[in-house]
């Protein structure tokens, strides 16, 4: 299995691009990823893959014009060729009057996020872990995926900034399915291989599947819901898309535009972004090489501010927070390490406090309905239950929700004491607790 290329070799290859000449500025973004993913379905491994790739993305500035080119080779020659292609593009592009310049030199806080055991995990190890999950799902059909992945990323630019960091992630998810139509979901994300709790994932998925056998119809309507962390991560994750980005805020496209200092959620709700926390994954610097900072987004229900890259920081007169995406980036900055602060309730206490409601394990295929109103729609999946008189009464068939996220955060009445990390793709994650929310809108239902 490969290891990291390392900062010295990365710098040597980057230097070939930085030294091309005929440019006012050059930036090199380097990424190297490798890992394996073992998928299982019908309680057997049906797809198992491994890949390794590199990517050199070069941004060239020339007379206020910008060009970007990338290639997946990793030699000084290929690095230089990408830079020359970017320079050619910059030569014909229209000027960019809002270009803020490249990142100045700044120290990057060292992080220790490379777990050699994850980086070198073998197909046999992944198969053994999957076998453990499947073994916990006796009498059920188990499906899911176990991925062990590693990444190293670096940014070097002609201003003298150089940043490099590696990290790893192991993610395991499972869906168990019973013959009676019950399904159950569980997942875990770990930054060290030893923390992957396969037995726990298998047992939780199996327990959910067995308890959701023979689901009944439930009429759509407004219900009190208890959302487990996987479901809460959908709400918080969509706020990254439609709420917290500095460009969307600046342009009036965000559901939080113009609401700085205003109450947008219940007083118990606080959300922040913090890539420096040991409880999350990813890089301590952004794709422009700016150190990532902790940013308070919503504190005690009050919206404070969003996240900014170099461009939006210049436009607003604020400091960049280290949230740039790879250039060119029409979407603007984006929070990739969201946290919701925990409360003091257990899941059982939230259920006990609910006279009539719905317990949701997770949502499926959610999408934006109305950005400015923060309204999204999606389906429940893999364990949805009616709550009656403070107890789980029976499983219910899946429901469609159509709901404003900000309204849901405003109607939040209890917050779980434990948080879980949920990650929908490699760079983005959120660590959130369970929530009890009143008046959550279910607008349709399915047949299973």
């Amino acid at each position: 299995m490969p290891g990291t290329i390392g900062p010295d070799e990365v710098r040597r290859v980057a230097d070939a691009a930085l030294g091309i000449g005929g440019a006012d500025g050059v930036e090199v973004l380097f990424m190297h990823s490798w890992g394996g993913l073992t998928r299982f379905a019908s309680s057997a491994i049906h797809q198992s893959t491994w890949s390794e790739d590199t990517d050199i993305r070069v941004r060239v500035v020339k007379d206020g014009r910008i060009g970007v080119a990338s290639a997946n080779g990793f030699t000084p020659e290929e690095s230089r060729a990408a830079a020359e292609s970017a320079r050619e593009i910059a030569g014909v592009a229209a000027p960019d009057p809002l270009f803020p310049g490249l990142a100045p030199p700044a120290p990057i806080e060292a992080t220790d996020r490379l777990d050699e055991a994850i980086a070198s995990a073998s197909p046999e190890q992944r198969a053994e872990t999957v076998a453990d999950v499947v073994g916990r799902c006796a009498g059920l059909e188990a499906a899911g995926a176990y991925e062990t992945s590693a990444m190293e990323m670096a940014v070097a630019n002609s201003e003298g900034q150089f940043a490099w960091a590696p990290w790893t992630l192991a993610s395991l998810s499972a869906v168990a399915k019973s013959q009676g139509g019950g399904t159950g979901f569980a997942e875990t994300f770990a930054t060290t291989l030893g923390d992957v709790d396969a037995s726990g994932v298998g047992e939780r998925a199996a327990r959910k599947a067995r308890s959701s056998d023979e689901p009944r119809d439930l009429d759509p309507g407004a219900y009190t819901v208890v959302l487990e962390p996987a479901a809460v991560s959908t709400l918080v994750g969509f706020m990254a898309f439609i709420g917290f980005g500095g460009r969307a805020l600046l342009e009036g496209r965000s559901c939080l535009s113009g609401k700085n200092g205003q109450r947008v959620a219940a007083p118990t709700v606080s959300i922040y972004d913090d890539a420096t926390s040991p409880l999350t994954i990813g890089s301590p610097f952004d794709f422009e090489g700016v150190p990532r900072r902790r940013v308070e987004l919503i504190r005690d229900g009050i919206f404070l501010d969003g996240v900014y890259d170099l461009r939006t920081a210049k436009q607003t007169g604020k400091e960049p927070t280290g949230h740039a995406l790879p250039a060119p980036n029409p979407e603007g900055p984006f929070p990739l390490n969201l946290f919701m602060e925990p409360g003091d309730a257990t899941l059982e206490e939230m259920i006990a406090a609910t006279e009539r409601g719905v317990l949701v394990t997770r949502f499926h295929y959610s999408n934006i309905v109305h950005e400015v109103e923060s309204t999204i729609t999606g389906m429940t999946r893999d364990g949805t239950f009616a709550i009656e008189d403070g107890e789980i009464a029976h499983p219910v068939k899946n429901l469609r929700f159509t709901q404003s996220i900000l309204e849901a955060l405003t109607n939040t009445t209890m917050i779980g004491r434990e948080t879980e990390l949920a990650s929908e793709f490699f760079f983005s994650s959120s660590r959130v607790p369970a929530l009890r929310i009143e008046g959550f809108h279910f607008t349709g239902r399915s047949d299973h």
Partner: protein, 480 residues
């Protein structure tokens, strides 16, 4: 590069694989975005590598590398074989493959002008002029335009003797206008949402799109939407333009008839399907007016090729015929489970990806009349155009779609404009209420370049030929 693919197959066989295939793939892309007369970015990317797939005692293994040296080819082939061995940790019915004749040959997307050779200055000038006209409309906040070019060259070899070289080229462009005011944001796109209209073609496709000519109308509608009434909440007759029929087919038919989903292979992630293996020739999926065809030979489609990524020739076959479900889209492995030949729909989004069952060009067969004819034949209802949002459950039953714009239909005429329109339904009920499908004159072959599926997630490029259509008794105007 065919030699590299053959060497990888040989290395896999030497490592113990009973069957192996290998693909060397080189992908180039170019993307330009202009917004409010400023360059948002010009991006050229390239990626090249090798993916090796093996079968060992009925278990799959796959490994991929960006490096093509001899030692790396051997190391990757051995790793793919080792992965297949590891998969046998959980016993299963051994994989078998539907038979296919070994193929040799070349395929290239027909085109008149290579889009990558068109000067950047010409591309920029087109986007600048189109978006200048959008922005000239009073009330437009953002005027954006984009061009996207894609070229994939692949070299495929298998241990059964196939040796195939293909070059696929896609070109597309679009504009959109955004208007913001009074807590509302509205967007109109042309020719379609999400980067416009992409086709398997050269620059000639982009030159014919009419971006400049349609710019002012696009901007004006975005502004008008700001003050339009909300789409009412009611059960009514719904007419969809061909752009929205595209998403409706994609989500509720295309994915539902992928045989890997039906067999549970995507259960944990994208989900399964309400369609079962026994439904061929039996399931009443839609009204008798609806016939759906899968056609990987269709000129201009994003799902058009010579052979799929297992070396199975491109095919045309009925998916739904006069409302009755007839055929799955399948691979050699999944077709073999049902004792059928593969329908040639195994596709990967690059060298690093394991091929999956993907849509090709899944199209509704045209019937009669224009969009105007359908509206003219509708006494009361709502007409919706251009997709804005999509969501569907894990068995492809309950869906909810949003569109950019709608109008009331009253006595065969479009009257009041509505903003934020959406509708919801249950797949077979909805398609069962289809009572009009437009004719060839308003039938458009759209491209969907962003179809996500699989783990690690892959993004497929698929096509949908669509005509406007009408559906009775549909719930529109879903509110939170």
């Amino acid at each position: 590069m065919l030699d590299v693919a053959r060497a990888a197959v040989d290395a896999a066989r030497a490592a113990g694989a009973g069957f192996a295939d290998a693909r060397v793939v080189a992908i180039e892309s170019e993307s330009l975005t202009v917004r409010n007369q400023e360059m948002e970015g010009i991006d050229r990317s390239s990626s090249q590598g090798l993916g090796i797939r093996v079968l060992l005692d009925g278990y799959w293994g796959f490994a991929a590398t960006a490096r093509l040296g001899e030692g790396e080819i051997h190391r990757t082939a051995e790793l793919a074989t080792r992965i297949a061995k590891a998969a046998s940790r959980l016993p299963r019915e051994p994989v078998t493959l539907a038979a296919v004749e070994p193929a040799t040959g070349r395929y290239q997307t027909p085109m008149q002008q290579d889009p990558f050779t068109v000067p950047l200055e010409e591309k920029i000038a087109l986007l600048m002029e189109a978006t200048r006209r959008v922005q000239a409309v009073e009330g437009v906040t953002f005027a954006e335009g984009g061009i996207d070019l894609f070229r994939s060259r692949s070299w495929f070899a298998s241990s059964e003797g196939s040796a195939i070289e293909q070059t696929i080229v896609h070109s597309g462009a679009g504009i959109d206008a955004t208007a913001i005011g009074d807590g509302e944001m509205q967007r109109r796109s042309y020719p379609n949402a999400f980067r416009g209209h992409i086709a398997a073609a050269g620059w000639e496709h982009i030159a014919k799109l009419g971006l400049v000519e349609e710019a002012e109308r696009t901007g004006a509608q975005a502004v008008e939407l700001l003050s339009a009434h909300e789409c009412p909440s009611e059960v009514t007759t719904l007419v969809l333009d061909s752009g929205q029929v595209e998403l409706q087919i994609h989500e509720s038919i295309g994915h539902a008839v992928e045989l890997d989903r039906v067999l549970g292979m995507e259960e944990a992630y994208a989900g399964s399907s309400f369609v079962t293996p026994d439904d061929r020739g039996r399931l009443r999926f839609a009204s008798a007016l609806v016939s759906i065809t899968a056609d990987a030979t269709l000129p201009g489609g994003l799902g058009t090729f010579g052979w799929d990524d297992e070396g199975v020739p491109a095919q045309r076959f009925p998916v739904i015929e006069n409302g009755v479900f007839e055929n799955f889209i399948s691979s050699r492995e999944t077709a073999s489970v049902l004792g059928l030949p593969s329908t040639g729909a195994m596709r990967a989004d690059g060298w690093q990806s394991l091929p999956l069952v993907r849509m090709t060009n899944i199209s509704i067969e045209p019937r009669e009349g224009t969009l105007a004819d359908i509206i003219g034949d509708t006494k009361d209802g709502v007409f919706m155009a251009t997709n804005r949002s999509w969501s569907i459950d894990d068995r492809r039953m309950n869906f909810q779609f949003g569109c950019e714009i709608a109008w009331r239909i009253h006595d065969g005429k479009l009257t009041q404009m509505y903003r934020n329109p959406n509708y919801t339904g249950i797949t077979p009920e909805f398609w069962g209420r289809c009572d009009a499908v437009g004719g060839r004159e308003d039938w458009t072959l759209w491209g969907t370049p962003n179809c996500g599926k699989g783990q690690p997630t892959q993004t497929a490029r698929v096509g949908h030929g669509c005509a406007p259509a009408r559906f009775r008794d549909v719930q529109v105007g879903v509110r939170a």
